[in-house]
Symmetry: C2
Subunit: 181 residues, 2 copies
């Protein structure tokens, strides 16, 4: 069966700073139609700083949609036209003050494919050197060092809800178990 | 440092079927202010059907925001007031035709905490019996059986981008390695 849906009509409800909202009429595979609400997002990047003793460096940040402090690996939005790897290096420096000798991909992530077009690109950073943070004017966060083994336990115990951070910690654990890092 | 941000002004831009859009002025920790764009979402549920031979049952579904077919574990939105566990059992039956003797929690997931309030609740379903699918009118999908070991390899190779599906597969792998399932 061909599962493809096609846009019949597209309407922008909102064009904002970090996202646009579109409501489309879509043609369904059986010839019917349905409304599709879409959050257009320019994409994000996450970079996991892992030191030689297998400590990870997290940021604790107030996340407005949940009205709570969330523990995450360093991350940020892609600027228009910005390449994911260089955005990751920029966010790492801004949020933790770190630079890295060696950066490898941990794949990509679709956070919630039912309604958002965001793609988050994941990276692992090794060979770390620490300098000064360079936070944005509206960015307030605290850095927390947690060993990989403890971080895995926190994910399994439900203490790290952020999706990209869960995925990255569990992938790094498997790569380490396989002797690849 | 107190990282808390407080709403000064809230404005609804859109109230829709699966999401609302709000643009707030927020009071920052240093007394300044900033715009915060928020997607209000009622929450979701994912349920991983795992049979006695450690095969997982996936759905392949056209995901409109990406205009591509995405391989995911069965999932759906919470209806207003609906409890996550019963919603998970409903989605499992609707999408795969399966019922389960035994359901346990795999935690929760914040898909993209910078802008959406969605929480996705994750479950593992064992003791499966298969009957007929009961799809919604605008839902078209195909079921795919993949062994856990193959699924882990697909996650590590970047072939399963969906965040909830990556997290669930990697958690199930760790639980199995620890002899807990």
């Amino acid at each position: 069966m061909d599962l493809t849906e096609k846009p019949i009509k597209q309407e922008y409800i909102y064009k904002g700073k970090i996202l646009n909202i579109r409501v489309d009429d879509a043609l369904l595979p059986d010839g019917g139609s349905a409304k599709r609400e879409v959050v257009e997002h320019n994409g994000g990047v996450m970079i996991a700083p892992l030191d030689d003793d297998y400590n990870l460096y997290f940021v604790e940040q107030f996340r407005y949609p949940y009205m709570e402090i969330v523990t995450e690996l360093p991350a940020g939005k892609l600027e228009k036209g910005e390449e994911a790897l260089s955005a990751g290096m920029r966010e790492l420096k801004e949020e933790t003050g770190a630079t890295a000798d060696n950066i490898t991909s941990l794949g990509k992530l679709y956070p919630s494919p039912g309604y958002t077009s965001e793609i988050i690109y994941l990276y692992l950073a090794r060979g770390l050197s620490f300098g000064e943070q360079e936070l944005d004017f509206d960015e307030f966060l605290e850095i927390k060092k947690i060993h990989l083994d403890k971080a895995v336990k926190m994910v399994m115990d439900g203490e790290i809800p952020d999706s990209k951070t869960q995925v990255a910690i569990l992938k790094i654990k498997l790569l380490k178990d396989e002797g690849l890092i």
